[in-house]
């Protein structure tokens, strides 16, 4: 038994979304002119000359941001039911949620002080 409402629009949206890139690529393939010269392999119009491969090794600095991001992403999952039920919950729940955020803010301050959010 399926009780959730409004998902038929979601399904329609999903189908249209998946059709758009396919049709765009297909239209380019069908309608586009087929050149065979050397210029075909170069970057589009006045783009830069490509140097090296596209599969480069990323800087390790990004990893710290990713780690901090994951923690606050999980926090979002906990705050989501609070936001949905906000009109039914009182001021007390608001304060409790503030405590929840404050405890995690300690972590953010710690990360900040430790220089985890700095670039260099």
């Amino acid at each position: 038994m399926f009780v959730l409402t409004g998902y038929e629009y979601f399904l329609l949206f999903l189908i249209i979304c998946s059709l758009v890139p396919v049709s765009a690529l297909l239209a380019a393939k069908l309608l586009g002119a087929k050149g065979t010269g050397v210029a075909r392999r170069t970057t589009y119009e006045s783009g830069m000359e490509p140097i090296g491969g596209a599969w480069i090794q990323f800087n390790i600095r990004y990893y710290m941001f990713a780690l901090v991001f994951v923690i606050f992403d999980v926090e979002t999952v906990f705050l989501y039911p609070w936001a949905v039920a906000f009109h039914k919950l009182g001021v007390l729940a608001f304060i409790e949620a503030l405590i929840f955020i404050a405890i995690l803010l300690i972590g953010l301050v710690y990360a900040w002080r430790k220089g985890a959010l700095e670039w260099s």
């Binding site: 600095r61 007390l92 929840f100």
Partner: protein
């Protein structure tokens, strides 16, 4: 207005096929970047299954945590070490492959026998559906308040631990042997501080 029975059935079939094909791709493709992206596809199709099972909140949490965070972290990890290394082919690799195959097959038969042996009973209660997230929220701030607040402490511990582990600013007690290092993670150069002295950056 609801999704019709037929549409649900077709969606279930498409999601199942998508999940199986993507999961096979994760294992079989040799390029691990493609594997990581296909793992994201597996997570997305699992979230679609949750929606079909009326579990909207679990689906949202699946997308948020697994696709948005865990998979991104995996991709980051791959991109950080995405350096062509000259791996030596292992002699007698088939022994390991055969052992892995045997273990996986054993696990599969164990799980499938359990699935077949379990008497699945359909619950007659109406699923909460739309109200589920609201009910979860009401529970969070009434009888599950302490676990809710403890979760923030747990997340704080995870954050602090992750930062300490990722920064690696303490000198280890023993010197790791540098020989036979196949995979090395390139790090930015930084001064190591002794465990006893204060951190200068504080």
């Amino acid at each position: 207005m609801n999704l019709a029975e037929g549409v649900q059935f077709i969606s279930l079939g498409i999601l199942g096929v998508l999940m199986l094909v993507a999961a096979l791709g994760v294992v079989l493709l040799s390029n691990i970047v493609y594997s990581a992206f296909l793992l994201g596809l597996v997570f997305v199709s699992i979230s679609g299954l949750y929606i079909l099972l009326n579990a909207g909140f679990v689906a949202a949490a699946q997308v948020l945590v697994y696709v948005g965070a865990v998979n991104i972290l995996i991709l980051f990890g791959i991109m950080l070490v995405n350096k062509r290394e000259d791996f030596q082919p292992i002699s007698k690799a088939w022994v390991g492959k055969a052992a892995t195959g045997a273990v996986c097959l054993g696990l599969f038969t164990l799980l499938s026998s359990m699935v077949l042996a379990t008497p699945w009973q359909l619950s007659t209660a109406t699923p909460a559906g739309e109200n589920a997230i609201e009910i979860i929220g009401l529970h969070f701030f009434s009888d599950f308040l302490l676990p809710f607040e403890l979760a923030s402490v747990l997340l704080l511990m995870a954050l602090v631990g992750a930062i300490i582990l990722a920064r690696r600013e303490y000198i280890p007690d023993y010197e790791p042997e540098d020989e036979q290092k196949v995979l090395t993670l390139r790090e930015r150069p930084r001064e190591l501080v002794a465990t006893s002295s204060d951190n200068q950056e504080m």
